[in-house]
Structures are given as structure tokens and as C-alpha cells.
Symmetry: C2
DNA sequence: ATGAAAGCGCTAACAT
DNA sequence: ATGTTAGCGCTTTCAT
């Protein structure tokens, strides 16, 4: 394969001039540029990215650490991030962490091998205290949870506020015994995560509505999966717990819950109403279609990449920033009943 | 950041010895190895991957070109491929092609810039003739369609056979007016793609069953999306076309169809039975749960990566190979009715 | 506007 | 078992 030297020779110029042409730098006479371009075409030359990286100390690739791409929410996010990164000429390499803290840490330290120019971490296993110690040997952006005062840029969901809105929506639809279904919550109040933040919003909404905060209505399941949601719903339906509304920590869990209630003979929304969080593509097409909180994934992805690019270009550039994404509440059949179409 | 030279100096050995330790090569005395490891730890040294790549002519990264990660089927595949590649110490960078041939070609030519050691292409837009011209400037494995006699290794689905089985299943359940719902099919018989292959299986099954092959029951929709499936189902329900079974080209389309029939007042499976293809995670949890063809994604991913790794290590190693993945037929509520649980 | 020299950090090949 | 030499292909710096 041709090198820059070969091109230089073929064009009768120096390698430097070829480099200047390749990188669109000024100070190249049009005639010279044309000679070079011809030689490049003739030899079918392509830059050797490894050599360029070595020289520049950049790799042109960012890492994206997610629990698993094969989950609607993270798939959606990954898709948006790949697109946003592409607009900056960056490739995205995905590391699956399985939501385990050691894998998340490994993904970050991968970056220290300089495989990545930066890392976007959709943290799910890291505790706040650990996250706060993220020594940025490489630029890092944390995405998805609100980690207050961390040392890195952060793109957050409006977890508390949106959860409050979701729960209030259930109240407005007439629910009085509203369950909250989430993952395991740490006893350490410092460890904020999706579950604890959304629980806070849920509790606030009950308070707002003057409903009793019955801790027995807060259920912790082990995994954020459809299977876990279905299992819970079957159990709940069987026990006739008197629940008339459920706020699920994610749409994926909510999908399982819909299935489990169907198995248990409870009708949604007539017997019990269900709302999720994420507005995954599938939600609009379920039967019944799923009401949910819709954060703006594209905006989140765009911001995360922007933050990261800025840090890559200027590693010591100012204080860590935080961006909280906007959201919509999407009311569908699972909370409103009736005949509306599944699409929003 | 420390270099290999720094480590060598600190350990009182040569850079080569450090390199030998790093790469687990033999001929290093345990005592020496320990000295080196100590120095590495002390200096917090990490290999510079760009330098190693330049030297080795490898990047340690493979490209995965998929239409979009945010589709259950491709997400599932990507997840499995990332895992399989990880076992070979390879990172995976994802290119989204949006199923357009120019983007698929671009992803392949990306590889010619030597960003990737090889590329796995989940082709959806490329025509057979184009695929056959894939000049392998870099190892390429095509995944998902049966491209006969192409110049590259190929991991295929048992499209025809599995579709035949799926359609036969509908026949066995008593369907007599079975529709086939697929994407646009080229008039060129050489352009085999998922739609045309699965249609072939569908037609064979009708033939097997002695049912008339009514071309008006073969519907082409523009996109493999839930929205397109829903749209079709609403129209069909409204027109009372007398369809009592539908074989959908993918689960995603089938999910839309379930929604559309619900909108149109048709009950599944009582009025019409529906079967899909892919066995996406969601399928088991829909209401009704979706019968489908379940190809073994993990095996497909593993094979694709194995093929690619072999080519990377031995670019001229023998004739192109083809592997056809095994599959299962998973009968759920959408074709069988009744009270079984959603999980398989 | 163009070129020459030097070196990024690593490892293959060849000593010792 | 360990060290020396050379060079992968590019770009930064400094000349011209």
C-alpha cells in the first residue's frame, strides 16, 4: 500500500506538501495541490491512521461504555451517540459493562491505554463516591445519572422532576395506591442512582397529592429486565395487593409488567394503570401502548459528545459542567384507556 | 506519560525485555519479569496502542456495519459480536449504514484507511452483484443474507428453510389465507435478500400444503419498522381482506402488525394468527406473545468473528466459507392462542 | 510556498 | 536470556 512518501515522489514534491494537502492546510499553490491530488488518486493512497495517531497522540475514536447495547434504552442512546460523534469525525467503540462497577472501571482504564481520545460512560454500577474519584486521565463524560459535584462533565436526566410528573399523572388518572418498581437501592444516601432519584420524585408526588407514603408499595427488583418486571406483576396480581397504579423505573421493566398483569388476569388500564420511563421505540406499539417519560435522547447524545470533544481539545478547560435534558410526559393507553392510536 | 523506555530504564533492562514481558513472550527470567512488572506498576505505565498499531500494522479494532444499532435485531447481534470480539482481544467500532448501499460501501472503504483490521457487514442495502465485487482490501465477513458464491466469508440465516417452517406452522394452526409481509423486492432474480428468500420459503410451504399461491397475499412495505407494520395491519383489518394468518419478515414488523390489528379490532390469534422472524427479546413479552423463528444469534456472532479473525491472521487462507446458523421455531400465543406464559 | 530533519513509542530481526 | 538497531508512516519544527 502506498505511503505518503510514494505520493510525494509521484507528485514530485515533498511529503510535507502532501501532508498539507491532506489536511487542508493553507500555503499550497493550487497547481501543486492538483498534482498531489492526482498522485493520490493514481496510487489509490489512503492515510495510515495508526501513524497519524502516533504522531498526533489522538486516536480518532471514543469509547462508549454501556451496560449492554441490546437494551432498547442503551441501543437508542448508542445510536444517537454514534451519529453525533460521526459529525465530529469520531468513531465510537462500544464496551459492554453489564452494569458492573469493575467493568465500568475497566472501560475507563482501557482509555488510559490511549485507545480512546475520551470516554462516555453510561454509568449504572459505579457508586457516587467512586464516580467522584474518576481521575480524568482521559476526558470522561458521565451520562444518565445525576452525580452531583463530580469531577467530570455530566449529562443528566431530569430524574426527580420527571418521576414526580409521571407519578402525578397516575394520581390525576385516579390512582390512589401507586406502587413504585425499581432496582436495588443502596442504604447509603450518597449513592444516588436512577432508582433512588426516581423514588424521590415518586415520593414527592405522593406528598403533593396528600397520599400516604406507604413503603410497602416501593418494590425493589434485582434486574431492570422484562423478566423481572413480569415476575413481579404476576406475584402482585396473585396477591391482590390492591395496587391501582405502577410507576416503573424503566420502560423495559414496564413491558414486563404489562405482560405479567396479563398473565395474572389484571386489565391495564382498567384494573391498574402503568407508566414507564425512557420512551423506548417499542412503547408506542405495545397493546396497551405504554405511557412514559420521554427524555430527549438525541439532545442528550449531542451534548455528551460536545462536552467530550471540548475536553479532548482543551483538557483543562474550566469547571465540570452539567446538562439536564428536557423531557416530555407521553400519556398513552396504559394510563388513559380508551381508543387512541399507539403512535404519539 | 511513561514510555517503554522509561520502564526499561527504571527496571534496569532494555526496552525489548519490557516488550517481551508485556506480550507474554517466553525467554524472560522470572526475576527479570518481576523487576519489569514492578517498574510498570511504579510508573503506572500503559502501552501506547497507536505506536503498537503502527509497528504491527494492526489496529486491534474491527468495524461492524449495521443499518442501525437501535433496532432489536441488530442490537442483539451487535451485543453478541462485541462479546465475541472481546474474547479475541478486539474492540468493535460501529458504523450505522441506515441500510443504504452507499453507506455500506463507505463503511467498507473506511476499512481501507486501515482503521479496522476487518469488517463485519450486516448487509441490507447492497445488491448481490455489488456484494460479489467486494474487493477484499481488508478482510470482510458478510452476515445475515445468503449471498451465493460471493468472494468473502459469509454467515447466513436459514432464511428459506426457516420461513417455510414458519409458514407451515401457520398452516398447521388452521390458516388458509396466509399473507406474507416483506420489504420491497427487486425484480432482478439475482438480488436475493431477506425479503425474497423468506418469500421463497413462504411460497414453498403453501405449495407443500396444497394451498393456492395468491400473489395478492404478498405485501411489500417500504420499511422494516413497527410503524409500517401497524399501518399495513390497520389497512388490512379495515379492508376485511379475509387474511387469517400473517408471516412477517421480521419481529419488528410483526410487533407493528399486532398493534395495527388491535387498532383495527382484529383479535390475535382468534381472528388472525401472526408469526415473525428473529426472536427478538421483546417477542416473548408482548401481549399476545409473538411466535417466531429463532436463529441462534450467539452462534452467528461467534462464527462471524471467528471467520474474520482467521482472515486477519491469514488473509489468503483458502476459499470463502459459508456458515448457516441453526434455528428454532418458537410457537407462542400469537399463533396458538390459549394460556401459556410469555417466556420460552 | 515548499522542504529537510527529527522523532512519536513500539517491536521484528538480528546480535550477543 | 537479554540487548542493539532500525524503521513502521506520519507531522512538528525549523529552514529556505
Amino acid at each position: 500500500m502506498a505511503t505518503i512518501q510514494d505520493v510525494a515522489k509521484a507528485a514530485g514534491v515533498s511529503a510535507m506538501t502532501v501532508s498539507n494537502v491532506l489536511n487542508d492546510r493553507p500555503n499550497v499553490r493550487p497547481a501543486t495541490r492538483q498534482k498531489v491530488l492526482d498522485a493520490i488518486a493514481r496510487l489509490d493512497y489512503r492515510v495510515n491512521v495508526a501513524a497519524r495517531n502516533l504522531r498526533k497522540g489522538r486516536t480518532g475514536t471514543i469509547g462508549l461504555a454501556v451496560p449492554e447495547v441490546n437494551r432498547p434504552y442503551y441501543g437508542r442512546l448508542a445510536s444517537a451517540i454514534i451519529a453525533a460523534a460521526g459529525r465530529h469525525g469520531l468513531r465510537v467503540s462500544i464496551e459492554q459493562t453489564d452494569a458492573r462497577r469493575e467493568n465500568e472501571l475497566a472501560a475507563l482504564s482501557q482509555s488510559r491505554t490511549r485507545v480512546y481520545d475520551g470516554v462516555i460512560l453510561a454509568a449504572a454500577g459505579l457508586s457516587t463516591s467512586e464516580a467522584q474519584q474518576l481521575k480524568a486521565e482521559v476526558p470522561v463524560v458521565v451520562l444518565g445519572e445525576r452525580i452531583f459535584g463530580g469531577p467530570v462533565d455530566h449529562v443528566a436526566m431530569p430524574n426527580v422532576e420527571a418521576s414526580r410528573a409521571a407519578t402525578r399523572h397516575l394520581v390525576d388518572q385516579g390512582c390512589r395506591h401507586i406502587a413504585f418498581l425499581c432496582g436495588a437501592i443502596s442504604d447509603n444516601p450518597e449513592d444516588v442512582d436512577v432508582s433512588s432519584l426516581r423514588r424521590t420524585g415518586y415520593r414527592q408526588a405522593l406528598l403533593d397529592a396528600g397520599l400516604p407514603a406507604d413503603r410497602r408499595l416501593e418494590y425493589e427488583i434485582t434486574e431492570f429486565t422484562m423478566a423481572a418486571g413480569a415476575e413481579w406483576a404476576r406475584t402482585t396480581a396473585a396477591s391482590r395487593a390492591g395496587v391501582d397504579g405502577v410507576f416503573c423505573v424503566t420502560d423495559t421493566v414496564a413491558m414486563g409488567v404489562l405482560r405479567g398483569f396479563a398473565d395474572g388476569g389484571l386489565r391495564v388500564p382498567q384494573d391498574v394503570k402503568v407508566i414507564g420511563f425512557d420512551n423506548v421505540d417499542e412503547s408506542a406499539f405495545l397493546v396497551p401502548s405504554l405511557s412514559t417519560v420521554a427524555p430527549d435522547h438525541d439532545v442528550m447524545a449531542e451534548r455528551a459528545v460536545d462536552f467530550l470533544v471540548r475536553r479532548i481539545e482543551e483538557p483543562s478547560g474550566g469547571e465540570p459542567e452539567e446538562f439536564v435534558a428536557p423531557y416530555d410526559l407521553v400519556a398513552r393507553e396504559s394510563t388513559t384507556g380508551g381508543a387512541q392510536r399507539g403512535e404519539r
